[in-house]
């Protein structure tokens, strides 16, 4: 009985926004900075005359992590040694468990606690927090102290985080687009001599699924899980979600016209194809309840849909311990959601926003600092194999290493070291990927849910009830899509679409 109080409270305060896939867009010519102690070498020149004018300040850095690394204090000390010389500041690194991230940060924000740097993302409540005034405005700060940021992140992408003309988060410089496609089990591809270049669209995969189904009874031809299913093409991949909920832009249209993505013929087409595959037995029955990669990871599945980027197959192969190859089916597409996938923000409660920005800016240009923060202390956690490649230090392995961080969460990823098993041209590939991506005509638009928050709340429950099963093909779209849209209408979806259109038009007229 009492437990429900706790859960209720947790439930009530958790927030996250389930939006477009995270991608990244690289356009950096980052100026490498040598890790010397003198301020001159770093491109982060503070307009203030000299460091001696800066009072010592402790920057509280809050970010999500799986666990507090054993050697956190060690790395923090090294960073502080360096930072004290550079900007007379120290950092206090505070990793917070993923599972408690929303609760803890919301409480910190609600209670007005003083902290400085916080990781933000459109999936972690970025626009809600902006609307509630949780973050500090960054335009001026970037102008004055963000030299590295401006040099490494394309101006067009910085615009992408703006809400009402003001930036509230600095995107991490990495891949900024997503291209939809499939990951295929490499050994099966080789076994059946599958020519992946013949797969140009979803339907092309079908003959291969049939092949696998016929010849490999134990293998799931098409693994669907964690909201990666055929329906995604129509409900996420080929549209700009415009900030979530319902109401999207057709990628292929040049009009700024907001549509209900679940009413489009394309959605119907994809759902029907998915259902066909399900009836043919290609799809795993637990598609909507499975919470990890299960069968795919142990090699008992042939294909899985995935948003791709250069080197995704290498990454997933390593993560899964199973070799996969990627087949891109859709051209890369960049939406606001891709840009706001992971950012660094400054809390409104900071006492020295300039210093916080200086630190953030260093992460975009200072190679020594960023790699120290990402990988640990050289010699203790990693050793350099070449100027740009590192490996684990002597006696250290991925499991035993005392320090870990997520490089995709910070700064300018293009200046970070690579591991020996990664493509040496990884960053070049990212830059090209970002440059080539089709940019949404609504790039930079941020949707304010406040005027329609009641409808968004009601629609959220409808989406939960219908979307997954239809996307995955587990039900007959002929009836279900109609029911789905009926329920959406009853929940007020038209009002949301109209409001989005109104806001979009207003945003466009201000461009």
């Amino acid at each position: 009985m009492k437990k429900s109080m706790g859960f209720l409270s947790v439930a009530l305060l958790s927030m996250s926004m389930i939006l477009g896939a995270c991608g990244s867009n690289n356009n950096s010519d980052s100026s490498p900075s040598t890790p010397s102690g003198s301020a001159g070498a770093s491109s982060a020149e503070a307009p203030k005359s000299s460091e001696s004018e800066l009072k010592p300040y402790e920057i509280r850095v809050v970010y999500p992590a799986g666990a507090v690394p054993k050697d956190l204090a060690l790395v923090q000390d090294e960073m502080n040694k360096y930072l004290t010389e550079k900007i007379n500041a120290t950092v206090k690194l505070e990793p917070i468990d993923w599972g408690s991230w929303m609760d803890k940060t919301n409480l910190m924000i609600s209670s007005g606690e003083k902290f400085d740097i916080v990781v933000s993302s459109n999936t972690l409540g970025y626009s809600v927090n902006v609307a509630k005034g949780a973050y500090a405005p960054l335009n001026d700060l970037v102008e004055k102290y963000g030299a590295n940021i401006k040099a490494s992140v394309d101006a067009g992408f910085l615009e992408g985080t703006k809400v009402n003309g003001e930036m509230y988060g600095i995107p991490v410089n990495k891949e900024f687009a997503s291209s939809y496609g499939y990951l295929l089990n490499k050994s099966l591809v080789e076994k059946y001599n599958i020519d992946v270049s013949t797969i140009k669209q979803a339907a092309d995969l079908e003959p291969y699924l049939e092949l696998i189904k016929a010849n490999e009874p134990d293998i799931i031809p098409f693994f669907v899980g964690m909201q990666r299913s055929l329906g995604n093409f129509a409900s996420i991949g080929d549209i700009d979600q415009l900030g979530g909920s319902v109401g999207a832009l057709d990628r292929n249209s040049n009009e700024l016209k907001v549509i209900n993505q679940f009413e489009t013929p394309y959605y119907n087409e994809m759902a029907t194809l998915a259902h066909k595959w399900y009836k043919a037995g290609y799809i795993n029955k637990d598609a909507v309840t499975v919470t990890d990669f299960g069968q795919m990871q142990v090699g008992k599945a042939f294909a899985m849909q995935m948003e791709l980027k250069p080197g995704k197959d290498a990454e997933m192969s390593q993560a899964w311990g199973l070799d996969v190859v990627q087949v891109q089916v859709k051209e890369p597409y960049t939406t606001t959601g891709n840009i706001t996938g992971i950012m660094g923000s400054i809390s409104r409660t900071t006492e020295d926003p300039e210093r916080a920005m200086m630190f953030l800016d260093l992460l975009y240009g200072d190679k020594y600092l960023l790699n120290l923060f990402d990988f640990g202390v050289e010699g203790v956690h990693f050793v350099k194999k070449s100027d740009s490649v590192i490996d684990y230090a002597e006696g250290v392995s991925a499991e035993s290493i005392g320090y870990r961080n997520e490089p995709w969460m910070w700064g300018n990823q293009m200046i970070t070291y690579l591991f020996p098993n990664e493509d040496p041209n990884k960053w070049e590939n990212f830059k090209n990927f970002n440059a080539q991506a089709q940019k949404s005509i609504a790039l930079g638009f941020a949707f304010d849910v406040e005027p329609v928050k009641n409808e968004v709340a009601a629609v959220a429950n409808v989406l939960k009830q219908y979307q997954d099963v239809i996307d995955a093909g587990l039900v007959d779209p002929a009836q279900e899509i109609a029911k789905f849209n009926e329920a959406l209408k009853a929940a007020g979806v038209d009002k949301i679409v109209a409001e989005k259109q109104r806001q979009l038009d207003e945003w466009a007229s201000n461009q």
């Binding site: 468990d97 408690s100 999936t123 993560a319 899964w320």
Partner: protein
């Protein structure tokens, strides 16, 4: 008396047999019930000792293809944090449960006294807290900001767990219905003060309810992960349950956020099913050893010798 004894004599044999049969039947019913209750738990234990790959391939099974100690080895890789959290939890549980039990009894007893004029008002005051709360944010702000207990032992003991209306109301009911007013009155006549009455008469007569609430309070502290989640940042102070549960919470959160590519990838590296089950066992297991301590008072009847007459 004699007549009935005389009558029951020749039937005593069959009466005994009937009793034994009855006892057997009840025992059998319980064994069946316990098997049903235990079945899922046995499954958890078996899965925690299974080989991960076979679990993924075949699902949970009572007869896995392969057994493995990997899950436990993984968890015990860093015994430090687990030992510390065991220490933290045991300490907070003992201190919290004892203090809480005392506070609860002290609050409940006067409420059971008919001559305590304010008892209905106070009872309402207590009960109201079970229904209304100001929400997580004000509660957190009050404790973390104004009282300043973030990251302390205090935060694991005091907020929410020390005293709950539920326990107080139950205890009050027991006091009302098991302590005969005559005993209280005769003690008062003998000149005993309220405190003496409370400690020397009321409490000893109330062992079953004290054991019940004591058990509940103990379980409440042992199972708590919420206070750690909200108030504690230092891993040294994490409660055992939080340590074991946070993996599940992390996985659930990331599974909810699969739209974000990078977060989704993290899921691939999360410890798997067998580890999650092993954590459930490690978290829940030890407290079972505390049961017998409470059961002593729960199971036996009372000889209310002092009451008769």
């Amino acid at each position: 008396m004699d007549k009935s004894q005389a009558i029951s004599q020749p039937h005593r044999g069959s009466a005994r047999a009937k009793e034994r049969l009855y006892e057997l039947a009840v025992n059998l019913a319980f064994i069946l019930l316990c098997l049903v209750f235990l079945a899922p738990i046995i499954l958890i234990v078996i899965v925690s000792f299974s080989d991960e790959r076979s679990v993924v391939l075949n699902g949970y099974s009572y007869f896995p293809d392969k057994f493995s100690l990997e899950a436990y080895k993984f968890i015990l890789r860093e015994p430090d944090s687990m030992l510390k959290s065991y220490g933290v939890t045991i300490t907070t549980t003992i201190i919290g449960a004892l203090t809480g039990l005392l506070l609860t009894a002290l609050l409940a007893y006067p409420l059971s006294r008919r001559d305590f004029k304010a008892r209905n008002v106070v009872a309402f005051y207590v009960f109201f807290t079970m229904l209304f709360n100001g929400g997580l944010v004000p509660w957190y702000i009050f404790y973390a900001k104004y009282v300043g207990i973030g990251d302390t032992f205090f935060a694991l003991i005091v907020p929410n767990l020390l005293l709950t209306g539920f326990h107080v109301m139950i205890m009050r009911t027991f006091f009302v219905n098991t302590i005969p007013v005559s005993i209280l009155e005769s003690a008062e006549i003998d000149g005993a003060g309220e405190w003496r009455i409370f400690f020397q008469i009321v409490l000893p007569l109330s062992l079953p309810v004290l054991a019940t609430i004591g058990l509940f309070a103990t379980l409440g502290y042992w199972n708590d992960w919420f206070n750690s989640l909200i108030f504690i940042n230092k891993p040294d102070l994490f409660s055992l349950q939080y340590l074991m549960t946070k993996l599940l919470l992390n996985i659930q959160f990331l599974a909810m956020n699969t739209q974000n590519s990078n977060m989704m990838e993290l899921l691939a590296n999360m410890p798997k099913e067998t580890v999650r089950m092993a954590m459930a066992i490690i978290g829940a297991g030890p407290i079972v050893l505390a049961y017998p301590f409470f059961q002593r008072y729960l199971i036996q009847g009372l000889t209310i010798g002092a009451v008769k007459g």
